[in-house]
C-alpha cells in the first residue's frame, strides 16, 4: 500500500478515528510527574504519551561547552524501547539526533538563556508511547516543563502538525494518516506573537492546500496553548 491507496476519510468528511478535518486528538497534561526533576510534565495526546523533565540551570561541564554570555540547552529526544509496535533498540539514532537538534533550536528561541551565563539546562524528552506526531508532543511538553521549572521564557512553544489524506487537508495526523497520508507539516508556534520557531514538511501540497494546513496549525496551536496555560495554573489539564 502506498500514498493515497488507503481510504481514511469518508464522504461526510469523518476520519477513521471519528474526527472532523480540523479536530485535534484529545490532550491531557499533568505536571510534576518526575518528582526528582526541577520541572516536568506528562502529555497525553491521542495515544501518544510523552514525559519531559528539566534539570538546571546547573554548572555546564565539561568547560568547553560553556558559553560566557548565556546558558546552553542540552536537549535529548528519545523513544523508549517499548514505545512503538516493533521494539526500538535503545540508543541514539539519526532520527532522534535530528529531532533533538531542531527541538533545541526551537526552545533556544524562547528560553532567556542570557540570564544564566556559563550554565546548562537539561531538557529530557522521553516518548513512552508513540502514535504519530511525537516530535510535536515532545516540543510542546518540553516548553510546559521548562515553565514548570520556573525557567524564564518569552513564550511557550506549541507544536502541531497538519497534513493531507486522500486529497483532504486535515489537522493533527494520527498513526494511519501519518503512514498512508500524502503530506505532513509540523510547526512550532509561539502563541502570543504568532511567530514560528520550528518548521518541517514532507509530502506534496498545492499552494492552496499548504495555506489550509498552515491555518489549521495556527488555530490548533491557540487551543492547545489554552490547555497548557490551564495545566500550569492547576497542575493538570483537564482538571
Amino acid at each position: 500500500m502506498g500514498y493515497g491507496d488507503v481510504q481514511m476519510i469518508d464522504a461526510d468528511g469523518i476520519r477513521n478515528d471519528g474526527r472532523k478535518a480540523g479536530d485535534v486528538r484529545p490532550i491531557s497534561i499533568e505536571l510534576g510527574v518526575v518528582p526528582v526533576a526541577d520541572g516536568s510534565c506528562r502529555m497525553r495526546w491521542g495515544t501518544n504519551e510523552v514525559i519531559a523533565a528539566i534539570y538546571g540551570p546547573m554548572e555546564a561541564h565539561p568547560r568547553k561547552i560553556q558559553r560566557q554570555d548565556r546558558a546552553v540547552l542540552d536537549v535529548r529526544y528519545n523513544m523508549a524501547p517499548f514505545s512503538t509496535s516493533d521494539r526500538i533498540r535503545p540508543g541514539f539514532n539519526r532520527r532522534s539526533r535530528e529531532i533533538s537538534k531542531v527541538t533545541a533550536e526551537a526552545l533556544e528561541s524562547v528560553v532567556m538563556l542570557e540570564l544564566y551565563p556559563r550554565s546548562k539546562i537539561r531538557v529530557e524528552i522521553e516518548i513512552i508511547c508513540a502514535e504519530a506526531g511525537t516530535r510535536c508532543v515532545g516540543l510542546t511538553a518540553a516548553s510546559v516543563a521548562l515553565a514548570h521549572a520556573g525557567i524564564p521564557m518569552t513564550d511557550l512553544v506549541v507544536s502541531v502538525a497538519s497534513g493531507k489524506i486522500n486529497d483532504v487537508v486535515v489537522c493533527d495526523l494520527n498513526k494511519a494518516e501519518d503512514n498512508y497520508g500524502e503530506a505532513d507539516l509540523p510547526m512550532g508556534i509561539l502563541p502570543n506573537s504568532g511567530e514560528l520557531v520550528f518548521l518541517q514538511m514532507d509530502g506534496d501540497l498545492s499552494p492552496e492546500e499548504f495555506e489550509e494546513a498552515w491555518d489549521y496549525n495556527m488555530d490548533a496551536a491557540m487551543t492547545i496553548h489554552e490547555y497548557c496555560v490551564e495545566a500550569l495554573k492547576n497542575g493538570r489539564y483537564p482538571q
Binding site: V34, P35, A37, E49, F82, R87, R122
Partner: protein, 263 residues
C-alpha cells in the same frame, strides 16, 4: 529536588539518626516506602507495569520478537531483560553509554527473573530449530529516588505476568497469555549509618555503604544474590536480612497476586 548534601556531612547525619534508630523520612529500619503498582499502562507494549515507591518511579514494558533458537536448544525461545537508567530520571544520571552501575543493575534484575525459571522457554517454541519467541523485558527509570533495583524487579515480574503473546500480529494463531509460573521478588538492603536498612531512598544511597540484594521465589527459594559497593558484612547480619526478605517478599508477592490484569 534539592542539590545533594556533601556526602561526608550527610554520612555523619545518617550515623546520628541510625544511632537513635531513626531514618531521614521517619521510617523504621526495615520499613519500605508505600508501593503502588499499575498494570497494562503502555498502549504499544504487550505487557506493562508502572511501579512507584515514594519518589522512585519506573516502567516495565514487554515486547515479543521471533528468533532462531540456539543450536544447542532447538526447542526453546529466549528471555532478554534490559534496564535503562536514562538522564530523565535524575540529575546524577548523565547521557552516554551505560555506566558500570546501571549494567550491574540490569544484570542483577535479569538474573533474579531468569534464574527463577518463571518463564518456561520451551513454551516459546514455534517451529523446533527454526522459530521461537523472544520475550524482551525493557525496564525504564522515570524518576530515581533510590532503590531502582527493587522497583525494576517488581515492575519487571508484574509486566511479564501482564503479557500477551501477540500471535495474531505475527499470523501465528490467536493471542495467548504468556505463562509465568513463579513470582520472584527482590529485596534490597543497604548499610546506612552502620546498620542495614530496607529500601534506601536517594539520600540514604548517597551516604550509604555496601548493599545486598536478595531475590526469593515462592517457598523462599533463593534465585539471585548480589553484594555491591565497598564494605564487609557478617553472617549474622545476612541471616537477619534473609529473614526480613522472606517476610517482605511474600507481602509484595501477595500484592501482585491480587492485582487486576495479571495472569
Amino acid at each position: 529536588m534539592s542539590i545533594p548534601l556533601v556526602p561526608q556531612l550527610l554520612r555523619s547525619h545518617l550515623k546520628e539518626l541510625a544511632d537513635n534508630d531513626q531514618r531521614l523520612d521517619n521510617r523504621s529500619q526495615f520499613e519500605g516506602r508505600d508501593v503502588e503498582i499499575e498494570v497494562g499502562i503502555l498502549g504499544n507494549a504487550e505487557g506493562s507495569a508502572r511501579v512507584r515507591m515514594g519518589d522512585t518511579i519506573v516502567l516495565a514494558g514487554v515486547k515479543f520478537q521471533t528468533m532462531t533458537p540456539y543450536p544447542d536448544r532447538p526447542n526453546e525461545g529466549g528471555l532478554m531483560c534490559m534496564a535503562e537508567v536514562r538522564p530523565v530520571s535524575g540529575r546524577q544520571h548523565e547521557a552516554g553509554p551505560p555506566s558500570a552501575e546501571s549494567i550491574e543493575l540490569s544484570r542483577v534484575v535479569d538474573r533474579g527473573i531468569r534464574e527463577s525459571g518463571c518463564i518456561d522457554t520451551s513454551d516459546l517454541c514455534i517451529i523446533p530449530g527454526e522459530k521461537a519467541w523472544q520475550v524482551i523485558l525493557d525496564l525504564f527509570a522515570v524518576s530515581d529516588d533510590g532503590n531502582l533495583f527493587d522497583a525494576f524487579a517488581l515492575a519487571g515480574i508484574t509486566a511479564l505476568r501482564n503479557a500477551t503473546i501477540p500471535q495474531e500480529k505475527f499470523e501465528l494463531g490467536e493471542d495467548r497469555p504468556l505463562i509465568v509460573s513463579k513470582t520472584p521478588i527482590m529485596c534490597s538492603y543497604q548499610r546506612v549509618g552502620g546498620r542495614f536498612i530496607f529500601d534506601a531512598n536517594g539520600r540514604e544511597e548517597l551516604g550509604g555503604d555496601e548493599r545486598i540484594h536478595i531475590t526469593l521465589g515462592e517457598d523462599n527459594h533463593v534465585h539471585s544474590l548480589q553484594k555491591g559497593l565497598k564494605g564487609a558484612f557478617t553472617a549474622a547480619e545476612f541471616t537477619e536480612l534473609m529473614e526480613e526478605a522472606r517476610k517482605k517478599g511474600q507481602e509484595l508477592r501477595n500484592m501482585i497476586n491480587t492485582l487486576e490484569g495479571v495472569n
